[in-house]
């Protein structure tokens, strides 16, 4: 396609949008609503996933063993656990490591208080394995497996927040799909109406084009351009809104849930935004293109 032909189609598309401004605005508004909701659910779902991943890498399962077990016996159980496919990473924490870590955490600045335990490890018999899983969803079953192992005295893990995240992630995903699906259908319907009006308005022109020898592509191009432009505008508006909204929302949530700052961590805007722009623009262009493509096929035949 020549550059001049491309600009001709672009110009005709823009003229058509202006000519049917109210229909075009209605289509843009619906696509905007659709993409805004998409962005909203996208950020929620993405953040929940992010938190789950964060939790998977920071919240581990601690396995403590019967006190009479020897180190080789503990290591043998460790090898058995390490062979499981759910295990992403695990490391052995000796009783001494556990006591050193405890001292650093609770006696920092008051080291003299720990002096009273000199030579006597109060955490003797607390050798453990710290285990991290690939998928937090498998945690509950894995814990049951650990509890069933002979020699395992205790299993420590967090089963509330993580389970909540996982469920929330699924609910958000399903809800997003349903709402986006409905809005997509409404958007396509409105694009269909807009393009139908444009096609009726340009019926004479299209007929002349056909008789002159314009190809189907050339006849359809201005309508496709119109649809794509509407889609792009429909995507750009919520993206601008989300840009301002996201940072404010994250700031607010961090303030509100300061106590859970180790679990509730948000994706930085710089990381989530490029992906969201790409997906939202693709969605807008897709709605506009396919909405107009299928509409115009009905109206224009050689």
């Amino acid at each position: 396609m020549r550059i001049s032909t491309f600009f001709y189609c672009l110009k005709q598309g823009m003229i058509s949008i202006c000519r049917n401004i109210w229909f075009s605005l209605a289509s843009i508004a619906t696509i905007s609503a659709c993409i805004f909701l998409f962005c909203l659910f996208f950020t929620v779902a993405y953040n929940v996933q992010y938190m789950v991943k964060h939790a998977e890498s920071t919240v581990g399962i601690s396995v403590l063993f019967d006190e009479q077990l020897t180190d080789p016996e503990i290591q043998a159980i460790g090898d058995q656990i390490g062979g499981r496919t759910e295990v992403k990473d695990m490391h052995y924490v000796t009783a001494e490591d556990a006591w050193d870590s405890f001292k650093q955490e609770y006696f920092a600045g008051n080291e003299e208080l720990a002096e009273g335990f000199a030579g006597d490890n109060p955490l003797a018999g607390s050798a453990s394995y710290e285990i991290f899983l690939y998928d937090i969803d498998s945690q509950e079953g894995f814990v049951q497996y650990l509890l069933g192992l002979s020699g395992v005295r205790q299993v420590n893990y967090s089963n509330t927040a993580i389970a909540g995240f996982s469920t929330l992630s699924k609910v958000v995903g399903i809800l997003s799909l349903v709402i986006i699906g409905v809005l997509l259908a409404v958007s396509v319907f409105l694009i269909n109406n807009t393009i139908s009006v444009a096609a009726a308005f340009r019926k004479n022109e299209s007929k002349i084009m056909r008789l002159i020898g314009a190809t189907n592509f050339m006849i359809r191009a201005p309508f496709l351009v119109e649809g794509v432009l509407i889609g792009l505008l429909g995507a750009a508006i919520p993206l601008v809104g989300m840009y301002f909204l996201y940072n404010h929302a994250v700031e607010y949530m961090v303030q509100q849930f300061r106590l859970f700052s180790e679990i509730i961590v948000f994706v930085p805007a710089g990381q989530i935004y490029p992906l969201m722009i790409g997906v939202a623009l693709l969605l807008g262009v897709g709605i506009g293109f396919f909405g107009s493509f299928f509409t115009i096929r009905k109206y224009l035949k050689v």
Partner: protein
């Protein structure tokens, strides 16, 4: 060359629009197709434009068999034709230059080619001075000239005109006919569908008369028209 061999056309409603039509039009000919309403002359034109398909028979235009032509070749075929309508069918929101340029634009001509050929074509139809005018600022005759310029801008081998003088007064009708004769003299085959006996009589060209979907006469008629 246009070869129409034993063409029949029956519409879905059962209306037999054409019955065993045989016509041959040589390159560079000027032919009138005459007949009353319902005689089938417009259907014949639609068949030539490949807007409708014949029920049987064959049409070959410049060695292209329309019945065997795949849909994807239709635009290319139509570029070898120019078409003029009774109601001009100009784009109301575009001026004379843009209306003529439109025909080149939609077949992908370059801007340079458009800038060169449109003024030339407007000069041929005598509208150079009015290139900026909108259709509603022109007389009927002038609008038809614009339509002719648009039909000719892609240098078609055949010009099909469907009642080109139907909306014009006698004086303008004669002017348009003179223009078509002039175009024909330059080598373009011209096929004019009309029901105006008066125009046909003055032109002294080949006249094919149709009645109830059949050719009832094919002859050289009338007097002469003076070309400038």
């Amino acid at each position: 060359m246009i070869e129409i061999v034993n063409i029949n056309k029956t519409y879905e409603t059962g209306n037999k629009a054409l019955r065993g039509i045989n016509i041959t039009i040589e390159d560079g000919e000027f032919v009138f197709i005459m007949g009353k309403s319902g005689s089938g002359k417009s259907t014949l034109l639609h068949l030539l434009l490949k807007e409708v398909e014949s029920t049987s028979g064959s049409i070959v235009v410049n060695h292209m068999n329309l019945q065997k032509m795949p849909r994807r070749y239709v635009p290319k075929y139509r570029r070898t034709l120019g078409v003029v309508f009774q109601d001009f069918r100009l784009l109301r929101d575009r001026n004379v230059f843009e209306n003529v340029a439109f025909a080149q634009r939609v077949v992908g001509a370059s801007s340079r080619a458009i800038r060169e050929s449109v003024p030339e074509m407007l000069k041929l139809v005598g509208l150079s001075a009015k290139y900026k005018s909108l259709p509603h600022q022109l007389s009927g005759g002038e609008q038809q000239r614009v339509a002719i310029a648009r039909a000719l801008i892609n240098r078609p081998e055949v010009l099909l005109a469907d009642e080109p003088t139907g909306n014009l007064d006698h004086e303008n009708a004669i002017e348009i006919m003179k223009l078509l004769a002039q175009i024909n003299a330059l080598g373009t085959t011209v096929v004019v569908v009309t029901h105006s006996q008066e125009i046909v009589e003055q032109m002294g060209k080949r006249v094919i008369t149709m009645e109830r979907g059949q050719v009832v006469s094919d002859e050289i008629k009338g007097g002469d028209i003076h070309e400038n």
